[in-house]
């Protein structure tokens, strides 16, 4: 398998597109199927990602009642994904506008009925498919995410600290969003496939509820004439909390993604000693899972996304220009899901205890 992969990467360098093999050919991950006493398991059915394209799907599923009508507390999230995954995010569905669960095709995520909206490749709709242009996220609280999937290790095993748990309500609608890339740095050789196990918290003591923060810079522009740019901002949490996990997310022009604690009083960049997350990888950004970072009363986090302009790898500046809302004609990468024509600056952050509300921050 490894030899095949190395050979394949060599071909990509020569300009060849990766291909998709038969489903599961030569690669399998395994997750145990949980019973109600253990938690619940979601299984995204395998799907093909055509060579040279990207795929984004939005699956809607309700939290099963596995606690006699009471809240389901989860203290471990174990994901497994076929390589080629760009991201997998789980959000709670709240205000619906555009991205509507009822518009999806019926399917099942393992034992649970679901609907799915297939967003296809970004360029099929210039990103206007609701699964790509998710207008609702300001009030869809983040639950969990994973961006890690390699042949050597397709798993992300996130064990929350003792007595900390995600609170889910039975019947609550979740959205599982998958994004696969099948070219260049992120070949999808075995088809798209995702599994998530939510393990039930079983300690006798009442857990502290996990809080989440999803932050996104939506006005980014990385242009050919100004190739080096940095976008920075703060996000408040206000009450003192302990950050336990963080994950940055950008695309091919991303060079450095940093997150620091912010004291809530300074308008200058925090000192280097305050930085607790740093990543220079766009295709496999490490998720920091074992943090224990206290934030200050009235504070939060400061995050930086630094970019270096490079030409598109597979598409063209004409296609980059076509999606520039300002039509500047400067091959400006703007906010968008396609990794070759768009850019992101997204932060996934997890902390406890949950404050009055989960957080969304532009």
């Amino acid at each position: 398998m490894r030899a095949y992969c190395i050979l394949a990467l060599g071909l990509f360098a020569c300009g060849e597109e990766p291909t998709t093999t038969e489903p599961d050919a030569g690669f399998q991950w395994e997750l145990e199927d949980l019973d109600d006493s253990q938690g619940f398991s979601l299984r995204v059915p395998q799907f093909e990602v055509p060579a040279g394209l990207e795929s984004q799907n939005c699956y809607f599923v309700r939290v099963p009642d596995i606690n006699n009508g009471g809240p389901v507390y989860v203290d471990r999230v174990l994901t497994a994904m076929n390589p080629g995954s760009h991201h997998m995010n789980v959000f709670r569905v709240r205000t619906v506008s555009g991205l509507r669960p009822e518009d999806g095709e019926p399917t099942a995520l393992g034992a649970y009925p679901s609907t799915v909206l297939y967003g296809g490749d970004f360029n099929d709709t210039m990103g206007m498919h609701p699964c790509w242009n998710s207008a609702n996220w300001a009030d869809w609280p983040l639950v969990a995410n994973s961006q890690h999937a390699t042949e050597d290790n397709p798993y992300t095993d996130w064990q929350l600290p003792d007595t900390v748990a995600i609170k889910l309500d039975p019947g609550e609608m979740l959205m599982v969003q998958t994004h696969y890339v099948n070219r260049g740095d992120q070949p999808t050789l075995y088809g798209g496939k995702v599994g998530i196990n939510f393990y039930k918290y079983v300690e006798p003591a009442a857990p502290q509820e996990l809080g989440t923060l999803f932050a996104t810079q939506q006005e980014i522009r990385i242009c050919q004439s100004t190739p080096t740019v940095r976008y920075s901002g703060t996000c408040p949490i206000n009450d003192p909390v302990t950050v336990i996990a963080a994950n940055g997310h950008f695309h091919k022009r991303g060079r450095q993604f940093d997150v620091s604690t912010w004291d809530g009083a300074s308008i200058t960049h925090p000192p280097a000693s305050a930085m607790f997350y740093s990543s220079d990888s766009w295709s496999h950004p490490e998720m920091a899972l074992d943090l224990s970072i206290p934030t200050a009363q009235g504070g939060g986090v400061w995050w930086d996304c630094s970019y270096e302009w490079t030409p598109p790898s597979y598409l063209t500046c004409d296609e980059v220009n076509a999606k520039d809302p300002l039509q500047q004609g400067d091959c400006c990468y703007t906010f968008g899901g396609n990794t070759d024509t768009g850019e992101h600056c997204n932060l996934f952050l997890y902390y406890y205890p949950k404050t009055a509300t989960d957080q969304f921050c532009n």
Binding site: N133, S134, T216, S225, V229, D239, L326, C332
Partner: protein, 222 residues
């Protein structure tokens, strides 16, 4: 119109910054740099203190709209949700490529609570006929998150908040401040109502609109 003269620390000699930034407004030709390097693009006289003004991006015209003290600033819906003020600075006596700009949002009523900081590096300015440099495009504005905002003591709408702005240009810095009044400006009623809901002090992420009121916000004259 308030104008904010720089509280500048002029560290560089006139017109000779230590490192010439990439010119924002002039294409650099492939010539011998020692002989034919173009002068750095400047707006005004960089030997003079930096002058700053605050303003916002007009989504319809793409123009910079200068804002004075206690004047309204629109809060606009972002592509994937959340409401922001798209704000920036215009300046004189700076290079066209300003090293960085920072804008901070404070609630001074009561107290002096810093809510949000946004920073860009670099910021590209284009000189207008009035001699001021305005942001070249949306990338040189700041997306100042306004709503939803956790644990707000007051609504983020129709009441004044303080803005502080700062720029750094080739070793020189300048700051200014003023109060502005954010308002939900979208002409689409559904979007405007969502804005009013998410800018309400009692809004909880993912919660109902309109939110359940916890009482009247404190009246305050900043």
């Amino acid at each position: 119109m308030l104008r904010y003269l720089a509280i500048a620390s002029v560290l560089a000699a006139c017109g000779t910054p230590g490192e010439v930034p990439k010119d924002a407004a002039v294409d650099t030709p492939p010539v011998d740099a020692e002989v034919d390097a173009p002068p750095p693009c400047t707006i005004g006289d960089v030997a003079q203190p930096i002058e700053l003004e605050f303003g916002y991006y007009d989504g319809t015209t793409g123009a910079f709209v200068p804002v004075g003290n206690m004047m309204p600033v629109p809060v606009a819906l972002s592509a994937q949700g959340g409401f922001t003020m798209r704000v920036g600075v215009r300046a004189r006596n700076v290079h066209c490529t300003v090293q960085s700009a920072t804008i901070a949002l404070f609630d001074t009523c009561p107290g002096d609570k810093l809510l949000k900081v946004e920073s860009r590096s670099p910021v590209l300015l284009m000189e207008g006929s009035d001699g001021w440099g305005t942001p070249l495009n949306l990338g040189s504005y700041m997306q100042l998150h306004a709503c939803p905002y956790p644990d707000l003591p007051r609504h983020m709408e129709d009441v004044p908040y303080e803005i502080q702005l700062a720029v750094e240009d080739s070793g020189r810095t300048a700051q200014g401040s003023l109060h502005v009044v954010p308002y939900c400006a979208d002409s689409d009623e559904e979007t405007r109502l969502l804005c009013e809901c998410q800018c309400n002090k009692d809004y909880v992420l993912g919660g109902a609109c309109p939110p359940t009121s916890s009482g009247e916000p404190p009246v305050c004259d900043p």
